[in-house]
Amino acid sequence: MTAPLMLPMATDIGNPTVNIAIFALFVLATLAIVFRASRNNKTAADFYAGGRSFTGPQNGIAIAGDYLSAASFLGIAGAIALNGYDGFLYSIGFLVAWLVALLLVAELLRNTGRFTMADVLSFRLKQRPVRMAAAISTLGVCFFYLLAQMAGAGGLVALLLGVSNRAGQSIVIAVVGILMITYVLVGGMKGTTWVQIVKAVLLVIGAGIMTIWVLAKYTFNLSGLLGAAVDKSPAAGEKLLSPGLQYGVTGVTKLDFISLALALVLGTAGLPHVLMRFYTVPDSKEARRSVSWAIWIIGIFYLFTLVLGYGAAAIVGPDAIRAAPGKANSAAPLLAFELGGEVLLGVISAVAFATILAVVAGLTITASTSFAHDIYGQIIKKGQISGDGEVRVARYTAVVIGIVAIIGGIFANGQNIAFLVALAFAVAASANLPTILYSLFWRRFNTRGALWSIYGGLASTIILIIFSPVVSGKVDKKTGASLSMITDTGIDFHWFPLDNPGIVSIPLAFVLGWLGTVTSKEQVDVDRFAEMEVRSLTGAGAEKAVSH
């Protein structure tokens, strides 16, 4: 354990057999749970919303399981290990964002909608166009998020299972996709929720054990741990302990950071897979309790990652992390290996895989619900379809989405995945949140406002990303290597200077929502507005739990 780690390669650390065995155990256990849960899947409310019968604490744990993706576990710990304090800034944005959901969105949405975000947005506006816009935005966010997770699975494999060739990684991505389809097809929302609960518990326990272990090495003295991290990082030195290492370089990077902070704090309450989880509880009080539980779990977990990040810097060291195949993403697994050898590494690797599985399952059920309920059931069939018919379409959709995700993940393998997650948050904050808030709180808001805001937010985010340095024209000044998605440094069509579009697209979407509303002559549907407002606050007429 005290032996120095010499430039570990994927296959050098840990024992792939142990990793795979522990992971297989998780898969078997969750499959058993999913099959058990499937016995009560009868109605649409069962498949889409788990019968609305989860308790607040259960749903809160599942929300944490849905939200804490591999990017937050491996990514944030790694970012703190290499960039110090700037990595911590991410987790703060991800956490504070939950207050928007708690205070403004969760309960009102639970009381108003049935299965999807579009239910709420189209409640008092013109049904078909608004529902279509909301469904497109839902599918867009889910697709970007799903792609990031699937591509991340490929990278993890290199690191954790010693699979370094592309074909092998593609097979693992396909296995992840097939497992995800199975969870969703068999278990519906109920099964998916249980997978997320199991995963969240494992993740928090795993990270908690490592945190206590790291702190114990420094006699529970945080200052001592920080000092050791600084000593082990001669390049960064004291800068590791204060902001600016990553974002403080130039005026543009500082602005970029504000843009990111805006998208993080406003994005969460617009993420469709998060919103959909509020329908799995019986009433708004339980929705409130779920968010409260989620905030505690997510907050405590991010405090763990702070210790793990600095712990990895102190114990593994930035040079060994940079040399590892997964770079920053390998900080937490390398730390696990240094602390507890191959068994702890195996456990942490399995937890990281479980994380990906649970998140992609949640995204798949959200996307297929939105397609089946919003686009097929309400727009194509105009609501003239049985719940069973809708659920059948949802199942087909889940298979299609799974296949698209597998193919997309194989192609995106090796791409910079952090930007896909940032893109999903930016779309959620720009296209979804303004319309959610306007339709809940602004009486005059109307159809044109909603359409302008959703489509304007969606389009501006995607256009700004395409013409940002993320896609083309970003070059590492020292090495001359490309840091963009398009790695050919000869191709450069970027004109938007920032990596994160939020600072432009979010205010723009709010302005468009207002402008569309005031320029439209559409009369407010006073009856539907009254129903929405009264329902949202009192819970009268809200969807009830299914009793079996």
Binding site: I92, E107, G227, L241, S242, G248, K254, K285, V534, G541
Partner: protein
């Protein structure tokens, strides 16, 4: 059938215009809007300090603990605190009245 629906909707309007509901809505908004403004301002003060006040944020307050670290942990503390305050407040000040109105609407449609 359509008559039922109409009378239902009228009753939603009646409720919306009733003093009890106005009071509930006013109470809810007077809590959540200022609270939202408060945590957003506090978050962006923190973000701007982290972004533009490196000198201030890198000062040490004891051992290797920097001002930035205290501010960052402060965001966690404030988030947990607001969560607890809101949940307690809503349980006591919103739920009973909301439930009363809900029973009125669902129990005896006019």
């Amino acid at each position: 059938m359509s008559d039922m629906r109409d009378s239902d909707l009228t009753s939603y309007r009646d409720v919306q215009l009733s003093p009890d509901f106005s009071e509930l809505r006013r109470r809810f908004r007077r809590f959540v809007f200022p609270m939202t403004a408060l945590f957003l301002v506090w978050y962006f003060v923190y973000v701007l300090l982290a972004d533009y006040a490196h000198g201030f944020m890198s000062q040490k307050v004891g051992g290797n603990i920097t001002v930035a670290l205290l501010f960052g942990l402060g965001q966690f503390v404030s988030t947990f605190a607001i969560t607890m305050i809101y949940v307690r407040w809503a349980d006591r000040r919103i739920d009973p009245d909301a439930e009363k109105l809900r029973h009125q609407i669902e129990g005896e449609p006019q």
